[in-house]
Symmetry: C2
Subunit: 196 residues, 2 copies
DNA sequence: CCGCATCCCCAAAGATACTG
DNA sequence: CAGTATCTTTGGGGATGCGG
């Protein structure tokens, strides 16, 4: 445990890994998806994680030729631990209280951490009005819309979020296979009432 | 994830939880088992963890009447996440280089994090000469010796440690059911050679 | 713009001493 | 034993700069 925390226990480190878990990212994109991190900290974390064999720097093939950070195989092996930690945290996390706190990538992260582990086969698209769209395709989170979705959920960001944590599609519009959505929401661990 | 880290992401927090995972402990005992923590940090962590519903203070029944800290039900639910993190860390952890670093409780922690998750039924006793003795009884770590052990392993602390991380009982003495020990060591994930 | 390095400032962490 | 008080040091947040 202590050694694991030496590798990824620093502040922000696991959140950097979380972002990279969904694919390689550029430095600036990472900064946007981690509001409040500060550029020096991000640079330091990436350097440390690289030194620890968790993250690797890579140059995209020309003509793209831009630098990206990606997880090593060892870094990807953190997935079970991160899933377990996220599910534990979710059990004491209530619905959002306001419209804020929706930073770039939040919807993808929500799908990846709360829906993907329990997802039945199928193509689900979530549209947060005026914000982002992300999808869940056969258990994998995908950014943006998806072709021929089985079911589409549409609503304000806070209502999409609430649907996931409460398990009830109350304030959102659902098009398509409502049974599939119901099945998914039933499979998601209901947020137990853990008194804070 | 971010919320989980708000609860247990501070430095030392998960190590405090790790110690309490093996039973209630007094303040001073926690301090001894967490070398380097500093009394103020320990007090702050315990207060924060209590505020977050992870730890609870409790007074032992008279005439013992001493204060102890213990995990709440929610705190105990961290076990899967901690196991996953510990196993991940263990894959990049080599054998110890010197005789130091063996603080009170190290043997119990070693058994709990590396052996217990894979243990077959049986009673195993580990004796670190001149240091500690701890046991593994049907998959659960127990401090101290055990009655009628099926197999006893005895050796210098560093050699007991090495046996666990390398999977080979080379520098230690084994009494009793060597087959059971071999079965256990085989079940333990071999420490993959992850280049640092 | 992207990808950082630098600088300043402050809050939190560490070490140590001390106390009910 | 179970912490609090005090002091020092480290690390994070925020702004800025700067070469590619």
């Amino acid at each position: 445990m202590a050694h694991a925390l030496d590798l990824v226990g620093d502040r922000w480190a696991l959140l950097v890994v979380r972002e990279l878990m969904r694919g390689p990212k550029r430095y600036t994109d990472l900064g946007e998806r981690l509001p409040g991190i500060g550029t020096n900290i991000l640079a330091t974390r990436l350097r440390d994680l690289e030194g620890h064999g968790v993250v690797r720097r890579s140059i995209l093939a020309p003509p793209a030729a831009s630098k990206v950070y990606e997880l090593t195989e060892y870094g990807r092996e953190l997935r079970p631990a991160m899933r377990a930690l996220a599910e534990w945290g979710a059990r004491s996390l209530g619905p959002p209280t306001d419209e804020s706190g929706f930073f770039p990538g939040w919807l993808g992260n929500l799908i990846d951490s709360m829906l993907a582990p329990h997802a039945p086969a199928g193509r689900l698209e979530l549209r947060a009005l005026g914000d982002e769209t992300a999808s869940l395709v056969d258990g994998e989170a995908v950014d943006g819309p998806v072709e021929r979705p089985d079911v589409v959920v549409e609503g304000k960001p806070v209502d999409v979020y609430s649907m996931v944590v409460t398990g009830r599609p109350d304030q959102v519009h659902v098009h398509g296979d409502k049974g599939l959505l119901a099945e998914l929401l039933r499979a998601v661990q209901p947020t137990a009432a853990v008194q804070s």
